[in-house]
């Protein structure tokens, strides 16, 4: 069975700082990888996803993530954060052909204006 680790539980940054949130997964086969975001009071929504091709994936609101297969990682990055990026971020994985998602425990991001 797959598992997902997000080692940063709470990250606090100032506006304009660069962001990198870690995500590591364990699974021996081919996977699809996702980052979801939950803004305060809102639903979980998809930020970006990777399933094949270019390992550098670009998502909404200036976020990107890089799939490094050798490291089983899919870290989320943003070069310059804004106060509106304050949210909880979840990394998730599913195996090819198995639709159910396995989520990490989430990283709470707080941006200080």
């Amino acid at each position: 069975a797959q598992s997902v680790s997000q080692h940063n539980h709470h990250v606090i940054l100032s506006e304009a700082a660069s962001l990198e949130l870690g995500c590591n997964y364990s699974y021996g086969g081919t996977v699809n990888l996702f980052w979801y975001v939950q803004y305060p009071g809102q639903h979980l929504q998809l930020l970006l996803k990777y399933f094949s091709g270019d390992p550098l994936v670009k998502g909404i609101k200036g976020f990107e993530a890089e799939f490094i297969k050798s490291k089983f990682s899919f870290n989320l990055r943003k070069p310059s954060v804004q106060w509106s990026d304050t949210a909880e971020y979840f990394c998730a994985v599913n195996a090819h052909g198995n639709e159910k998602l396995t989520f990490g425990t989430g990283t709470r991001l707080t941006i200080i204006p």
């Binding site: 639903h43 998809l46 639709e99 396995t102 989520f103 990490g104």
Partner: protein
């Protein structure tokens, strides 16, 4: 509707009572999922429906939990004889299995508190 809807948004119940949670998926979505998020934890998969296939119940934590889906529409998650450890946010998601990698769209969740 435009998105996945869930009801009720909040439910407080007493230990031992049964509860029923409802999910209305996005119209046309063939797949429906239930997840649970306990405080300070990630989302746990509970059950998955896809069309007329037998549901994947592998995530249900005990036989007190069950779910049904009518065709490709509404789903109901039932928890019998609730326990305090059932307190959590129950999230429903739906997707359309037609693209290379399907995206699951989540509802707002039902926050369940068992006293």
């Amino acid at each position: 509707g435009a998105g996945v809807s869930q009801s009720p948004s909040n439910k407080v119940t007493e230990k031992g009572k049964d509860v029923e949670l409802r999910c209305d998926p996005i119209s046309g979505h063939t797949a429906l999922y239930w997840y649970r998020q306990r405080l300070g934890q990630g989302l746990e998969f509970l059950i998955y429906f896809q069309g007329n296939s037998a549901p994947d119940k592998s995530g249900l934590p005990s036989d007190r939990f069950s779910a049904e889906r009518t065709g490709e529409s509404v789903s109901t998650l039932t928890i019998q004889r609730t326990q305090q450890e059932d307190s959590a946010v129950y999230l429903c998601a739906s997707s359309f299995l037609g693209s290379p990698v399907e995206t699951q769209y989540f509802g707002p969740g039902t926050r369940l508190l068992v006293l």
